[in-house]
Amino acid sequence: MTRYLIRRTIQSLIVILGVSIIAFLLQHIIPGGEARALLGPRATQVQINAFNQQNGLNQPVYIQYFLYLDHLVHGNLGRSYKLNEPVTSVLKQDMPKSILLVGSALILSIFVAIPVGVIQAVRRNRALDYVGTGVSFFLYSMPTFWAGQIVILIFAEKLNLFPAEAPQGSTIGQILSQPSGLVLPIVTLALITYASFSRYMRSSAIEALAQDWIRTAKAKGLSNKAILLRHMLRNALIPIATLVGLSIPGVFTAGLVTEQVFNFPGTGLDFYNAAVSRDFPLLLGIILIVSVATVIGNLLADIAYAVLDPRVRYA
């Protein structure tokens, strides 16, 4: 187990280093270079040279990378052109809010997907199963922004149950103090996430139901409830740990659109605004952080998997 943990951790560190190289390289593929992006199309060559000189952009690429890495290690992700604020302070302010949104949606969708998936597996190929599969396919195929607008139309506009806009505020405390505004963004994101989780849960449960120990349990005369809860569910849940890890980038992606639809003041909205104003340091900083979060999420999921399933540890 320890060896497995060490190996996976080292692998993750290498991937994080790789992500930093990509983020660094992305800086260099901006057409016209960083100086042109910041100083605008009217900047003279002299100004561009001065900018490059000042920011070390005229040094060899590998030295620039080490400088970049040095800055990263010291928590310096550069400065947002548009907000005129260090990227780290933008992230510090908005990342917790995004994690709140993405995390609650993830938990909500898991709690709905598990029972629905189990019921679908037990009633496999019956009407209820078809309805469930149909619903997840439909939700999966629906562009997130449209789903969000429909949720707003029904629950905010027609039924007037919840506000259509996410709570505004710079700290997570301010966001949490207006919980009713959080409902619709979380529900929208959870619906989208649920679409892929339920299909997984269903096939995972079907596979678990086909195992020999289920037949043994039935032969022992255990009640259906005991079989489902004690023998099937625990085994069917193992792949879900990995699934949650693998789905983190996807949830961040859907989260970005959800934040945009509901004007939720998180990193996703920052990213969108930064893209519109071509604020490259902020874009790259967010890409880096979200990717590192994904790598760590995958690592945690793999560890959970290894804890739950001993076969992995000794493989």
Binding site: G18, S141, T253, R278, L284, I287, S291
Partner: protein, 309 residues
């Protein structure tokens, strides 16, 4: 998570897929192909999916030949409800929605299919080379894939779309740039198990070089996995394109795509202009579901072939 990534099993490194198809130079024997085809055609959802895709293609590509509209010029007849002359009404620029649905479908389908082809070709080559050669090169190539898989795709896409002003070609390229990862991983997994098969050894002994082995033997034997993945890629690309259009990073106007139509239409959701929303929205949903049905059925029928061997 996208459908194309679905196929990636956890612990790719630990588990080497044991069920690669067998066979020498990949020329499917008549019966295997027939079996796949038969199982595929017995699947009602597959037929439905195939039918929907064909119908959609006819609608988008043949439709404009019969139903002429001007999708460039704007008129003052804006947001007209469906009625005489405009079976699906007009949009906020006074263009006919039915005609726009056809033209928009063309670009959505073209981009989806082009992305699937480019991403699949590149990903398959990458994965087959890494898996066949193995060792250090394999580790390096696969860590590169891991790195790109860790970057949430939409973030990378938005960055690229902000850096390069999108047109059709650039959109296809940047969508392919994020889509080649899952085929490369899948094919690499299969190549690992295929390269130790007897027939590959036999080719080696007969003096076949690595290029021949990879192109003539490894890749053709992974064709099932590749085909299934490519179908999901088309669906995923159409969806992502819609999201990009909504974020204002899609095709520049006056070009039409379903995503652009839907995201414009959504602005009028409170005005009750349903004809600006549902036609484009359902075109996306139907096409995406249809490609998913085809992919699922294709996977099932390939599995049946393996079971009956």
């Amino acid at each position: 998570m996208t459908r194309a990534e679905d196929q990636l099993t956890p612990f790719e490194d630990e588990i080497v897929s044991p069920t690669g198809p067998e066979g020498g130079e990949a020329r499917e024997s008549e019966s295997a192909l027939q079996l796949i085809l038969r199982t595929f055609l017995e699947n009602k959802l597959a037929i439905l999916g195939l039918g929907l895709v064909v119908a959609m293609a006819i609608f988008c590509f043949i439709g404009p030949l019969l139903y002429h509209t001007n999708q460039v010029a704007t008129t003052y007849q804006i947001n007209l409800p469906p009625g005489k002359g405009h079976p699906l009404g007009t949009d906020e620029n006074g263009r006919d929605v039915l005609g726009r649905l056809m033209v928009g479908g063309q670009s959505s389908l073209e981009i989806g299919i082009a992305v699937a082809i480019i991403a699949t070709v590149f990903g398959v080559l990458w994965g087959a080379i890494a898996g066949y050669i193995g060792g250090k090169l394999d580790s390096v190539m696969m860590r590169i894939v891991d790195v790109f898989l860790s970057i949430p795709s939409l973030f990378l896409l938005i960055f690229l779309a902000a850096a390069f002003t999108p047109n059709m070609t650039i959109l296809i390229l940047i969508l392919s740039f994020i889509s080649w990862l899952s085929p490369s991983r899948l094919v690499r997994g299969e190549a690992l198990s295929l390269r130790v098969r007897e027939y590959v050894k036999a080719v080696k002994i007969m003096g076949g070089g690595p290029t021949r082995i990879v192109v003539r033997h490894i890749i053709p034997n992974t064709i099932g996995t590749i085909a299934v993945n490519a179908t999901f890629q088309i669906a995923d690309a159409i969806l992502v394109l819609a999201t990009l259009s909504y974020l204002g990073l899609g095709l520049p106007p006056p070009a039409a795509s379903w995503g652009e139509m839907l995201s414009n239409g959504v602005n009028y959701i409170y005005d009750g202009y349903w004809w600006l929303i549902y036609p484009a929205g359902f075109a996306i949903i139907i096409t995406v579901i249809a490609f998913n049905f085809i992919g699922d059925a294709l996977r099932d029928s390939l599995e049946v072939r393996l079971q009956k061997r």
